[in-house]
Amino acid sequence: MNDKIDVQELNLTAKDFQSDQDVRWCPGCGDYSVLAQVQRVFPTLGIKKENFVWVAGIGCSSRFPYYMSTYGIHGIHGRAPAIATGLKVARPDLSVWVATGDGDLMSIGGNHFIHACRKNIDLKIILFNNQIYGLTKGQYSPTSEKGKVTKSTPFGSVDYPFNPTSLALGSEATFVARTIDKETKHMKEMISRAGKHKGTAFLEVYQNCIIFNDGAYNNLTDKEIKEDNIVVLEHGEPLIFGKNLDKGIILDGFKTVVVDLNDDKHTVEDLWVHDETDESPIRAFMLSHMTDDPDMPTPIGVFRQFLKPTYDEGVQNQIDHIIETTGEGDLEELLFRGNTWTVE
């Protein structure tokens, strides 16, 4: 990507990123909050407005590009990561963002997702995970909990959900993070960090669908209880949580255990200190698995950030190197190359 430009010089505001189209999500939908934060973060990234592109699939959340005044493409269901891959590989100078839903990315688009992660394409993928198919009016999704009663599972689903962060880590994603629609400040930071990462940045947003899956994240958004159910990951900091910041997480072999900092058995020193930069994804994978564990709080924040060359720059470098060392291609030479003969 181009060198960052001075933010002052760009002089952009959130308003500059609002498109002239009316936003058509249901009143109260969690998607609004993501839109607002993105519009707030974009002016701060040091990237020219015309160099942002939003790519989406199909779903409520995938309407996102229409509401941004950047370049954008509303693609077909599940294919946003692949469209974005082509765009980014062809144009490494652009900042390419993907807006997608849990059906779009985890169901039909699963393959493109894991391959984008594997290749470490420099994309920012924002997953609006509402654990439901919104746009098609409420079927269960691959992130819905087992036993979910929906239109397509009237007696409860019998399959197990994906944990999107685990899948991303299994696919070797270099930036894996999570936030919640209601935690706007936290979300803003996560979007900004994703935007600054070089490589595939995967940000899962827990998003409430007020119509078809209202309250799916109540335990993480209800003011009364949320602090006991969320642990905020911060690099270099111990894993502390709870209303009174009196709970912590320690490691017992390969098990994470919640401890009470008020009993005299444990102090802050004993706690697991978060290290997001670890090259090995093991720690991040453990954190991710805390999500599935009813005894553990749900982590939000950056699980992992690790830098390695991206696919798109690899492709570009190969070309640049060859042109540098052997010169640019000449069509005439190419046409007449190899075994030729002449008829007089």
Partner: protein, 615 residues
């Protein structure tokens, strides 16, 4: 090289030879060398590689036989030939598979050493056909190729396996002698290819020469053949396959348009070579993405097209099927995109290494909704070059997807190509909107093309997508009348391309009793069949379609000038159905689906039958 004066030399106008052996015997390489040398000495030619869908089917079995057929002559040659005059059979299985096709009284050069018990059994021969008189209708030359190759190479310091792998060059040497071709081009090739290994250079050169001199020095062959230079247009030539030509065409289109080339593709036989060729051309800034599947192949190309590249995707039938949904996205977003479909035998996996023309209707109609695209087809290996450029030009000028159809036969087959100079190729104009004030993403120019504003250009930020858009503004629109309008505009845009389609030319009389029509890769077979029919005294005209959607302007008129229309296709009548639909004419069909090019003689027979026999 001196000619051997003691043997009779017979002049021929054209010859069809078949090299056949085990998948591991190097027959494709042998055939290619013979072709290159033959092209080099100035014959026209046409080739048909034919290999099993297994990589190395078990040695000695009939389904493991790999063949390379080659037709060359002193006149222009349009097909690889219906029936070989000469069969080189490296083992019993190769003989078994290819004998039915050999011409009566044809020549068989058989590697006698391989007709042992084991190989005979593998080929399901009870007795050796070299000994039981069953080949009495042919001129059989059993040669101890294996033994003589071993003998010839004993000083090259090669492993037995390497020696065994050289016997194809012994056979090639025989053929060079028989048809009076020079050894030098192949010897040079050997030096270049194996330069690093002295032993391999030694082995291959010696085997080649041994075969040649064996033929010259023994009494086995009484006659040699000569096929004189063909009268070809002046110029510099190279031998080219359809897939290579396609790749070159896109590199050229990239240069001619000033756009970077992006290929998103997933490997599939027989299209993979286009990906292989293009991935070498990094010097031209070509970016190739081997995608996770065909859907990612095309959608990544759509992304690249949105980003301003000349974007293409390449595949074969089953892959085209997977690209249908995304093609619809390219249609509604009105982005330039070229989709190359190298047709193979279907349905489903079908006959993956064989040729066919049965994806035409899929290309025309295989999308949801009213979803028109341009469909054009290449006729010969070298024509792929020009049609790749043409596809790019249409896509860029009209902002629309274009499907380019080739097929396994022209993709793998090769022919001599008079190379055009880069500056003879017409530039491709690419317009970009310049005034942000007046920019509307679905505004239209005189060709109904919408403006192509690319990310990175300030002031032109806009959104496109798969939902119906309002004409001009490009806003999402559910307006009923707008949808009707847009469906018609998208169709109209493809129709307007007719302005760029050259009139259909007729080979022969401009009117008459019978016009034979074909499209795409059957060009050579039909042309040769019509020449043969004329030689029998029949009056018949011929025209070949390269543009199917839209058709050439004058097609209706051309058709109306003939009493009867015969449409010959390597499918069950797909072009015929489109022509019937458009022109309401009771066409006659000739259809064969054998996974092979159409047989010339069968088409000639059909012509003759329609015209009431030879006059």
């Amino acid at each position: 090289m001196e000619e051997n004066k003691t043997k009779e030399i017979k002049e021929l106008t054209d010859v069809c030879v078949m090299f056949a052996g085990d998948s591991g015997d190097g027959m494709q390489l042998t055939g290619t060398q013979f072709s290159d040398t033959t092209a080099f000495v100035g014959n026209d030619l046409s080739t048909l590689p034919d290999y099993p869908s297994e990589i190395r089917a078990p040695i000695g079995t009939t389904y493991g036989v790999s063949g390379f057929q080659l037709h060359f002559g002193s006149n222009q040659v349009y097909t690889p030939g219906d029936n070989p005059d000469v069969l080189v059979a490296m083992n019993p299985a190769a003989l078994k598979v290819n004998l039915p096709n050999l011409k009566k009284n044809g020549i068989i050069i058989a590697n006698k050493d391989s007709f042992d018990k084991k190989n005979l059994k593998l080929a399901k021969y009870e007795k050796s056909p070299l000994e039981d008189n069953s080949l009495s209708g042919y001129r059989v030359f059993p040669v101890a190729i294996t033994t003589m190759t071993m003998e010839a190479l004993k000083d090259c310091d090669l492993k037995p396996k390497e020696v065994a792998r050289s016997k194809n060059f012994f056979a090639l040497g025989i053929m060079y002698w028989l048809f009076n071709r020079p050894l030098d081009p192949t010897l040079e090739w050997v030096n270049e290819k194996f330069g690093k290994s002295k032993n391999l250079v030694c082995g291959n050169s010696k085997a080649l020469k041994a075969g040649y001199y064996y033929s010259e020095n023994t009494e086995i062959f009484a006659i040699r053949y000569r096929v004189s230079k063909a009268e070809l247009p002046k110029g510099t030539y190279r031998s080219i396959s359809g897939n290579e030509a396609t790749a070159l065409g896109f590199v050229a289109a990239s240069k001619l348009s000033g756009l970077k080339l992006f290929l998103g593709s997933y490997p599939i036989t027989p299209a993979s070579e286009i990906l292989h060729y293009l991935s070498r051309h990094k010097k031209f800034g070509v970016k190739t993405l081997q995608a996770e599947d065909e859907i990612a192949g095309i959608t990544s190309a759509i992304g690249a097209s949105f980003g301003g590249s000349l974007a293409i995707t390449t595949t074969s039938g089953p892959g085209l099927a997977l690209k249908t949904e995304a093609t619809g996205l390219a249609v509604i977003t009105e982005l330039p995109l070229v989709i190359v479909n190298v047709q193979r035998g279907g349905p489903s996996t079908g006959l993956p290494t064989k040729t066919e023309q049965a994806d035409l209707l899929q290309a025309m109609y295989g999308r949801s909704g009213e979803s028109p695209v341009a469909v054009i087809a290449a006729t010969t290996p070298s024509d792929c070059f020009y049609m790749a450029i043409e596809a790019s030009r249409l896509a860029l000028k009209y902002m629309a997807p274009v499907i380019l159809l080739t097929d396994g036969y022209i993709a793998n087959g090769a022919e001599p190509w008079r190379i055009p100079h880069a500056n003879e190729l017409e530039k491709i104009e690419v317009k970009r909107p310049t005034n942000p004030e007046e920019f509307h993403s679905y505004d239209r120019d005189e060709n109904l093309a919408r403006p192509w504003a690319v990310p990175g250009t300030p002031g032109f930020e806009h959104r496109i997508g798969g939902l119906e858009k309002a004409n001009i503004t490009g806003n999402v629109s559910h307006d009923p009348e707008n949808h009707d309008l847009m469906c018609r505009l998208r169709a109209e845009k493809i129709e307007r391309m007719q302005a760029d389609v050259p009139d259909l030319e007729i080979d022969g009389d401009q009117e008459g009793e019978l016009l034979v029509i074909g499209w795409g890769g059957t060009h050579g077979s039909i042309k040769e069949a019509v020449i043969a029919a004329r030689n029998e005294g029949l009056k018949v005209s011929r025209a070949h379609l390269k543009y199917i959607n839209p058709f050439p302007k004058n097609l209706g008129e051309v058709l109306s000038n003939f009493d009867k229309i015969l449409i010959a296709e390597n499918n069950l009548g797909q072009l015929a159905s489109i022509i019937r639909n458009k022109y309401l004419l009771p066409v006659i069909q000739f259809n064969k689906m054998r996974g092979l090019p159409l047989k010339t003689y069968e088409i000639t027979e059909k012509i003759s039958e329609i015209l009431g026999g030879a006059k």
